[in-house]
Amino acid sequence: MKTLRILLVDDHAGFINAAMRHLRKLEWVDVVGSANNGIQAIAQCEALRPDVVLMDLAMPEMGGLQATRLIKAQDNPPFVVIASHFDDSEHREHAARAGADAFVSKLSYIHDVLELLERIAGEGAPSVLDPAPAGSAG
């Protein structure tokens, strides 16, 4: 399993700390940094070049959707996961439009994120928004 370099983005310090505690237990995960709004996230992605960004949807200054769009404009952009308190088709639709590769509900955050990270680490970087996630041609 390859090591995944992860950037955590959330405006609540408590949330970042909790996520950090869970992710630290995994030896194939390396949390390379954190940011508490979208603007910082863009700069951090440019500087740290993470493999995966776990991005909060709602944040002050710049939220997760706008940040995702702008991060996806960089060279070899990371895999971006939007985490939202609201999980409905409209929020998912907006995340997909912004260019996010995956969407998780904050209500089942750790469970969904771990499942996703395991898959990414195992297969390269399949988009879970693919109709049929394919490692077939890779």
């Binding site: 863009i42 709602a58 944040m59 939220g63 959707l65 060279d75 929020h91 970087a125 988009s127």
Partner: protein, 476 residues
């Protein structure tokens, strides 16, 4: 975009604390304040996703605050706790942006109000980001002039329109322009991306559902057809609509009636439908993924959106328009040096206008003041510059390789001259595409994720093309 801050105006301190705790738990950032303490000269209505209004008696600043809000073109909704029925300040604000909350707080009501506020905010932000707004496409190139002419031609009639074109070419901008120039302009414009919604939810999204229609249908809900009543509905990515839904859509188009999921009552609808897709629907029909009868229903007036690389002359106009929009919406400013614009003219723009818009917005964040030169551009945008010496090429090997492999169609295919008997353009383009994909896969040792950037494609797009052209593991 997707703001988390909520302003909480309540002189009842105990209640304010209680509501704040609840909001924090729901992933928002509440700020308890007196309206009098808000500096209206510095504040922006977009600083909050919602304003919760409790007891404002004795808050000297509240009336002024309400007045200020009403003067803002897009302001967050006010979620009003009991006690303001018939209050004077309510007259200043549009009733659609004043929502009521019960107290004691009901979790489901608050949750739903916040969900709506979140979507309202995202929608408004997305509108602001659409570089071209409702004014239609920007530019003076022949391709844009022809496009504008077609939009004007079809707008006044209720004709179904099919908008085709690559991702990011502004299909929604075109659809909005049609709506704005039609007699439906005063009615809602509703868009839905059929590809982004799970197949099993699409029907209820389009047609709504009755309470209890399926697990999770706790309340009755309107679908997008109902929301668009009297106006225009854009069915984006129609090529991704499952076959089962295509039948239902066909019926609505033919009979102008539908039923909510779980409902028995037949509803009439008066909605102009515009469909859009980046896919080739004829190929989809041949593959059995799209209904031919639906295609003919939709294909009454097809409009092909030009790719940005086919109208590079519009770049300066587009850059100016997007920069103006960024400044106007307070999202920063960006100024490009001539060498940067020159570099961008040589780029192939696989993501079209949307990609340009994202790039400029990114530059305005990373270079908030000062001029952006070609060197400040991400590597792939510099790769096409013909006079850049290879030694000065960017550190990224992928981008450098992309430059080396930059396709000059003339060298890749001997048939770029039109034979007297003509050619099958689609088939011909497909062959060129297959050749380039094969070359990229070879260069990337068959790793799709590495081949995609060589072609300026997203990995998912390449995977899709591989599937479309029937590449299998051995070949790649």
């Amino acid at each position: 975009m997707s703001e988390s801050r909520i302003l909480l105006l309540d002189q009842d301190a105990q209640r304010a604390e209680r509501v704040a705790t609840l909001l924090e738990f729901m992933d928002f950032s509440p700020r308890i304040a007196d309206a009098a303490d808000i500096d209206l000269k510095k504040a922006r209505a977009s600083d909050w996703v919602a304003v919760v209004v409790g007891d404002t008696e004795g808050d000297a600043g509240f009336d002024g605050f309400a007045q200020w809000l009403s003067s803002q073109s897009l302001h967050p909704p006010l979620m009003v706790l009991p006690g303001h029925e018939g209050a004077d300040w309510r007259q200043q604000l549009h009733p659609e942006s004043v929502w009521t909350l019960d107290y004691p707080i009901r979790r489901t009501q608050l949750q739903e109000a916040l969900r709506r506020a979140s979507l309202k905010r995202i929608d408004e932000d997305e509108r602001r980001t659409t570089a071209e707004g409702d004014n239609g496409p920007t530019g003076r190139s022949p391709a844009v002039r022809k496009l504008t002419q077609m939009l004007d031609q079809v707008a006044p009639f209720d004709t179904t329109v099919l908008i085709l074109g690559e991702s990011g070419t502004g299909k929604e901008v075109a659809a909005r322009a049609i709506h704005q120039r039609s007699k439906r302009a005063g009615k809602p414009f509703v868009a839905i991306n059929c590809g982004a919604i799970p197949a099993d939810l699409l029907e209820s999204e389009l047609f709504g559902h009755e309470k209890g229609a399926f697990t999770g249908a706790l309340t009755q809900r309107k679908g997008r057809f109902e929301m668009a009543e009297g106006g225009t509905l854009l069915l984006d990515e129609i090529g991704d609509m499952p076959m089962a839904m295509q039948v239902k859509l066909l019926r609505v188009l033919q009979e102008r009636t539908f039923e909510r999921v779980g409902g028995t009552q037949t509803m009439q609808c008066d909605v102009r439908v515009i469909a859009a897709t980046h896919r080739n629907l004829e190929t989809h029909i041949a593959e059995g993924k799209f209904r031919e009868d639906l295609f003919y229903r939709l294909n009454v007036f097809p409009i092909e959106m030009p790719a940005l690389r086919e109208r590079a002359d519009d770049l300066p106009d587009l850059i100016a328009a997007i920069a103006r929009q960024l400044t106007d919406s307070g999202r920063g400013s960006v100024k490009l040096a001539p060498d940067a614009v020159q570099a961008l003219r040589h780029y192939a723009w696989p993501g079209n206008v949307r990609e340009l818009s994202n790039l400029l917005e990114r530059l305005s964040v990373l270079h908030p003041s000062g001029q952006v030169t070609a060197d400040d551009l991400p590597a792939r945008y510099r790769a096409g510059l013909p006079d850049t010496p290879v030694a000065a090429m960017p550190e990224s090997p992928v981008a450098a390789a992309a430059a080396a492999a930059a396709p000059d169609p003339a060298t890749l295919s001997p048939n770029t001259t039109l034979p007297p008997e003509g050619i099958d353009l689609r088939g011909h383009m497909a062959e060129i595409e297959v050749e380039l994909i094969r070359a990229a896969l070879q260069q990337a040792d068959g790793v799709v994720a590495h081949a995609a950037p060589l072609l300026g494609l997203r990995r998912t797009t390449l995977v899709e093309k591989l599937r479309k052209y029937g590449f299998d593991r051995d070949e790649s």
